[in-house]
Symmetry: C2
Subunit: 336 residues, 2 copies
């Protein structure tokens, strides 16, 4: 009733375990007769190699752990991070890795330790990062890469988008279409991407002679739809009196949250106010009006993280740091 092992195959074929192993792996010689017999039995008995036993001897599990750290739900199904995970899954399958997905509200030792005990070959760290956990993992000697982490860490491969360039694109698009008074909702500034997006935006504005005061920056504690809605509703009077003709939020969730509020106040978008987000989550194109935004190549981020990690795992020489991904402006109905 139990699943057959190499031992059982060997017994029935009248050969040794070694021979069966060699035939399965294709390493070493074997006679055609032995091969036929063994392969036939494998087929017949539906033999499936035990990956656990293999991992035991090869010291490689061919498993990768994805650690996704985020404070708010959703986590794995997050419209931005979820897409990265989707890409990771696909690329990993292509390279014959299985993926453990682990989510956590904070970057803790716990999840990382668990993955180490499972003896994954490597780790992909996404979003919130903390130095001590990074050190902990490094200490264990486990290869890892980071994806869109909250901060860069020296000597660590970090796959990111050119967020500062994206911020500039937004400013350029808005100023070129005649906007000067822009209301900005800035996501958590302790996260690299939100920080750089804002920075790129402001730099461009300044360089083009737009007064600092004309861009009213409102800090968002989280990067959620609810927060976007909340901030604009609290600032609604200031918004109206300020003569703003455009709104930029450092991600799509904040932008659509704000847009929802504006639409409920019967503000015409883009006739009265233009809105720009950042990320290009699926949902951005579905909204009415659809959202102008900066497309981040999440697909490439996920795929690249697996390819990079695979190189580290196989200890390929001269692995150079991947270049930052270039985003692009997607103009939709929410701006004019």
């Amino acid at each position: 009733m139990d699943n057959p092992t190499i031992k059982e195959i060997a017994r029935r074929a009248g050969v040794s375990k070694s021979t069966v192993s060699r035939i399965i792996s294709g390493n070493g010689y074997s006679s055609p007769e032995a091969r036929d017999k063994v392969l036939g039995l494998i087929e017949e008995m539906q033999y499936k190699p035990n990956a656990v036993a293999r991992a035991m001897v090869s010291q490689r599990t061919h498993n990768i752990g994805v650690l996704l750290y985020r404070r708010e739900h959703p986590i794995a199904s997050h419209p931005f991070y979820g897409k990265i995970v989707d890409a990771v899954l696909l690329e990993a399958a292509r390279l014959n890795y299985s993926i453990f997905v682990t989510t956590d509200h904070d970057m803790s030792y716990r999840s990382a330790d668990f993955m180490m005990e499972k003896r994954v070959d490597g780790l992909i760290l996404i979003s919130r990062l903390q130095q001590n956990v990074i050190d902990h993992i490094t200490n264990f000697g486990l290869p890892f890469v980071m994806v869109n982490g909250s901060t860069d860490v020296d000597g660590v491969i970090h796959i990111v988008n050119q967020d500062e360039a994206g911020g500039r694109m937004v400013a350029e698009h808005l100023t070129r279409t005649g906007h000067e008074r822009i209301f900005v909702i800035a996501g958590p500034q302790n996260h690299r991407s939100h920080h750089l997006r804002l920075k790129g935006f402001m730099t461009y504005m300044r360089q083009n002679g737009i007064q600092e005061a004309d861009a009213a920056i409102h800090a968002a504690a989280t990067s959620t739809f609810a927060e976007g809605y909340e901030i604009i509703s609290r600032q609604w009077n200031a918004f109206r009196e300020g003569g703003y003709t455009a709104l930029f939020a450092t991600n799509d969730m904040l932008a659509t949250g704000a847009m929802k509020f504006l639409l409920e106040q019967a503000v015409l978008i883009p006739e009265q106010v233009s809105v720009v987000g950042f990320d290009d989550v699926d949902f951005a194109g579905m909204f009415s009006p659809s959202l102008t935004t900066i497309r981040v190549d999440t697909w490439e981020m996920g795929a690249q993280s697996v390819r990079m990690l695979d190189k580290l795992i196989r200890q390929e020489p001269n692995v150079n740091h991947p270049s930052e991904l270039m985003p692009r402006l997607i103009v939709r109905q929410s701006t004019k």
Copy 2:
């Protein structure tokens, strides 16, 4: 440089591996002195048990495979299925399981075989299902549960929503608010949930004397936003001439796709047309106007699937089939 093993701990503590093992597991006796020494070394050397070796002897990996079968992207980040995955992840962590997530465009032996080779303790099958793969898994003797599968299978634990009841709720809500001419977009009828949602809807209509012809059913080949948009745009003339005052789609993606088109045609929602979806994905409440829909308890579906599977794995006696989850109507801005 390598990570310490039980053997190294034993050597340094001057005891045998057996003793170390017993101290770690807490099974069997050990002297306080030995315990102090060993525990101290474990702390000092940052010993982490090798889960692979443990799995080898215990014949249990404490890993669960989630197989998510869907034709279209996104898969893991799908607004409906992704939420189930999120719940699975959380509940699994609580019960000390790690989760392999595997996505596939079709239900194939390949992904399932791979998980079997990894010797997962059990499998959670989501969405598209096919009898032969089910048989294949059963044959291997691996416990599994299904979640929102395309079809029921005898004797298999299947966690589902009461979709027929949900369909009835939609019909009831629309007829009570005075609608008689309803345009229906029905997702793939070879999938259990879409089929039952439509069935429940139609049954209620018929029982309440609404003419069959008044509910124009349009079949959707997929259950995507693009398809919803496409169908209503193709039927736009028929829709206008038909005097429809409401639209029901068997999931939120189709509904929002259709809604997007209607809004682009300057149709007032809900003043001229009411729209109802099904699922209550996050995005439904964010849309403008926000979507009236039937909330499926995806969170409970995911959590329950893990709990059920855990019982099967532990061979708990008398595991009874969970009852179907009751959905509820969420009235938002898209209906009146």
